[in-house]
Amino acid sequence: MKPLLPRLWQSLLRPLDPHLLALLGLLSLMGLITLYSAIDQSLTRWSAQLVNFSAALLCLWVVAQIPLARIARLAVPLYLLGVLLLIAVAINGEVVNGARRWLHIGVTRIQPSELVKLATPMMIAWYLNRHQEHLRGRHFVAGFVLLAIPLGLVLRQPDLGTALLIGASGFYVLFLAGLRYRVVVILLLLGLASLPVLWSAMHDYQRKRVLTLLDPTEDPLGAGYHTIQAMIAVGSGGLTGKGWTNGTQSHLDFLPERHTDFIFAVFAEEFGMLGAAVMIGLIIAVVLRGLRIASNSNGLFPRLMAGSLSLSFFTYAAVNIGMVIGVLPVVGVPLPLISYGGTSLVTMGLGFGILMSIHRHRGMLASP
């Protein structure tokens, strides 16, 4: 008989995939270390982030316990709730920094687009799963409609970053379900062709961000400020970095949003190219492990969900890093597990919880 503590520990960990858990833990640790520097060693906010992490971990663990069939049953209600809340935001949302994203409910306020990030791919996966015996073109069309509704509402807020993430997560589901390559290519071409249309529909500040990307020095005090300062931070980090808490860009107030969207710049400035390579390596490892879980899973719904969740994590990270190093416009996407903030962490926790649940219940055939 083993002593109590290790047994307890084991029973807590058993449902979780140890590889994925270890990778997430390492990334989170890097996040906490970087954050400590980014918030000028303020212990209050640092411990607030620790609380956020605990909440996210709890979410992950709880969701991991739930059989996937139960989770799947939530797809429709969650999706409907998300869309309803988005409509409520459009009608009665609070405007912060020119965008209508927040909804007041009683004492607190929520950002329904976070819920939609998870609910949309779930809904599409659920729908395709229902019709898996005879998947036809029209089912994919319906899938696109299910994707377009929340996407349109989020675009209207406007929240380009979140819209991009929702669009990607839904697209991954459709792609993994067997959307023809021909259609994928056509969609990409259509997307390129619609750029001028999109351009005319953009808000001024969004256009500015795109122009800035093409030439940040055009408007160094305005829209280009974020990008220039972030690139200086990253570039001046060099191969080995300036050392933890010694980033001049980060600590002389040059770098805006340095504990949230631009935290990667702090990391790259202080830990250099080598540190950045390690972090990106870890992110790749997380995504590949997620895809492995997807590959080992049984059944269409788990497969689509596992694939979409892993690829979404990749998208979050790639969009954020791309934005910080000046290859994508500034769209306001946090770096998962690294940026400060509870909401995105909890969303991550829920997502990885589903992935863990898929892993745990991979062998089981859900009964009707």
Binding site: L239, H251, L252, A276, V287, G307, L365
Partner: protein, 628 residues
């Protein structure tokens, strides 16, 4: 529902292939990102290194001019001064202590400067510059500049500092600004306003400065500056001008405010003057006061302790935060309650033997006049302030009716004035007492409440507001300090419209009777006759005293025998001219003794200024001064 199916091999293979496609895609994207990083961090390292290290091109924020605060006539109450400041970059100084000693040989460094510096050094992130001395004189600037080579890591900069040219006058109204503290920063970030504060160093901490922060703050500008390798020869490449904050014009008449403050002559207390027809707060006096200039650059911790621990409590905003028993000033409102509810007719005469007893009880509730007032009707009860009349009236009304009626004059509720920290006072009733003390309401409680003692508490603001509502015949305008916001850029003015807070209906006859009695209070035979003597306009007023300590049964209150801080508080409320009120006032003198002699003369001096334009010392006002 079915989650799994017996997939055909082909479908499973197709899925695996797609996963592999995705995997390859991911790796390719990340390799591209890594490639970009490689370019930035190795190939272009030198370029970015130069940019970051020597800050060859840096963005220098330029402070905006904080908006002015002016009184209703345009007299400046808060402005900005350009000040030379010495700032230390601790990271660049090898031996901080020795450097400071060295510096003390060139400019004067007081103990207070050193203490503040030490405090900031502890609180600041290590890359920040820390001001070591502000308000440098021209001579000091010259001496430092000549010796600058000795002080690496110390820079001379100019800053805009908030300045309150009138010093302690109206300090509680204006509040003050202070440096943005780490806590402020967290708060601003949580509200998403951190970017708007880049380049801004101070923030409104109290009073008007805090309430109208978003109007006053302005927007910082930026200059893109190029420097040579030695850090000299700055060349500005481009700039965006800062945008000054909006001017806030107050309803306060600063002369009236000064006259009120001076009339306290060192005594503690509060005065509030309101224009009944608009709710304009014309004066808001809190004595003693303090100099807000001491807070602007971070207050010396020792001075802070002194202000905080002084028994005179100069930092307390008495008119809003001081809750005192209203004493006899509650009587006009009680008299109106008697008429409005029909509990007592105006002609009903009671006999005052000098005390009141409840049926079946021996406890004597004494009138302030031991021998009694004899026959008293409603009119006379106000004029001579007969307590016995109101003891009886209160029991006849009962506490609930009394509570509900007083609520119509805003007792027990904050007025909603536009600065923080107002207390609501206390308009007690049975439900309140049960909630607060878990005890039922006794008739004896009602008796004391009838003369504004016992549990009843009111702030000077509330009494001024109540007087204004009386003066305005039941229409209440929310008291407000700011009158207008002026945008300097566009010249646009945003008026803060007087808006009726609520309306309450009284019979004309009842109002006229109570107001007539209040006028007689200030005429010969009334309790405030002396202070009002010789005024060319008619004043409706009411005196009051609020007990600080209880006097035992059968014992006499002798002012001379009681410690100064245990003496009664003196009250006076008034509005004038009585026929067409232009000003409603409440005065409280802490431990001042009698309302008629201590408080009323202050009101007289203020009314003389507002109605006649005569300052104390000029002929008319002297009559007011002689009342003391």
């Amino acid at each position: 529902m079915r989650l799994t199916t017996h997939h055909e091999i082909s479908s499973d293979r197709e899925y695996q292939v797609r996963l592999q496609v995705a995997g390859v895609f991911i790796v390719v994207v990340f390799v591209l990102l890594l490639g970009r990083l490689l370019v930035l961090q190795t190939l272009q390292y030198d370029y970015y290194h130069t940019l970051a290290e020597s800050n060859r091109i840096s963005l220098v924020p330029s402070q905006p001019n904080r908006g002015l605060i002016i009184d209703r006539n345009g007299i400046v109450l808060a402005e900005n001064r350009a000040v030379y400041t010495l700032e230390v970059y601790p990271k660049e100084v090898a031996d901080l202590r020795a450097t400071l000693e060295d510096l003390a040989g060139v400019i004067e460094l007081s103990d207070s400067d050193r203490r503040r510096f030490a405090k900031r050094l502890r609180e600041s992130p290590k890359f920040d510059s820390i001001p070591v001395k502000a308000f440098l004189s021209d001579a000091e600037v010259a001496r430092f500049s000549a010796n600058k080579f000795r002080f690496k890591g110390i820079e001379l900069t100019t800053h805009l500092f908030r300045s309150y040219p009138m010093g302690s006058v109206a300090a509680h109204v204006l509040g003050h600004v202070g440096r943005i503290s780490p806590q402020d920063k967290v708060l601003l970030e949580s509200r998403g306003q951190a970017v708007a504060y880049q380049g801004i160093e101070s923030i409104g901490k109290d009073g008007i400065e805090k309430t109208y922060e978003s109007d006053l703050k302005g927007l910082a500008g930026y200059a893109q500056v190029e420097t040579d390798a030695a850090g000299r020869g700055m060349r500005t490449i481009s700039r965006r001008a800062s945008i000054p904050g909006n001017t806030v014009r107050l309803a306060i008449d600063i002369r009236l405010q000064q006259i009120g403050e001076n009339a306290f002559a060192g005594r503690r207390g509060a005065a509030v003057a309101i224009e009944p027809a608009t709710g304009d707060v014309l004066a808001l006096v809190s004595q003693p006061s303090f100099d807000p200039n001491a807070f602007v650059d971070g207050i010396d911790p020792r001075l802070w302790r002194e202000l905080n621990q002084s028994p005179d409590k100069p930092l307390t905003n008495r008119p809003l935060r001081g809750a005192y028993p209203p004493g006899s000033t509650i009587k006009p409102f009680m008299a109106l309650a008697a008429l409005e509810t029909g509990v007592r007719s105006p002609d009903k005469v009671i006999r005052d033997p000098g005390f009141f007893t409840l049926p079946g009880q021996s406890h004597q509730y004494r009138c302030w006049k031991p021998e009694g007032h004899g026959a008293v009707d409603l009119h006379r009860s106000v004029v001579i302030s007969c307590d016995t009349y109101y003891y009886g009236l209160a029991t006849e009304l009962g506490i609930e009716r009394m509570h509900d009626f007083l609520e119509r004059f805003n007792f027990g509720r904050a007025s909603g004035i536009d600065i923080e920290g107002e207390r609501s006072g206390l308009n007690p009733n049975d439900a309140w007492k049960r909630a607060r003390f878990k005890e039922k309401w006794y008739t004896g409680d009602t008796v004391s409440a009838g003369i504004g003692q016992g549990y009843v508490l009111a702030t000077p603001m509330q009494l001024a507001y109540a007087a204004a509502v009386m003066a305005n015949r039941g229409t209440a305008f929310r008291p407000h300090l700011a009158k207008e916001i002026v945008d300097l850029q566009s010249g646009k003015k945003r008026r803060i419209e007087p808006k009726p807070a609520y309306q309450t209906h009284f019979s004309e006859d009842g109002l006229d009777r109570v107001r007539a009695a209040m006028v007689d209070v200030t005429l010969p035979g009334g309790t405030a006759a002396q202070a009002a003597a010789g005024a060319p306009y008619r004043i409706a007023g009411k005196t009051g005293t609020a007990q600080v300590i209880a006097i035992k049964q059968g014992q006499k209150y002798r002012e001379s025998e009681i410690d100064e801080r245990h003496r009664d508080h003196a009250w006076f409320i008034a509005f004038a001219p009585a026929e067409d009120p232009k000003i409603a006032i409440a005065i409280l003198v802490e431990n001042g003794g009698h309302g008629g002699s201590a408080a009323a003369p202050i009101a007289r001096a203020m009314m003389d200024w507002w109605i006649l334009g005569k300052a104390p010392g000029e002929t008319v006002a002297q009559a007011g001064g002689s009342g003391r």
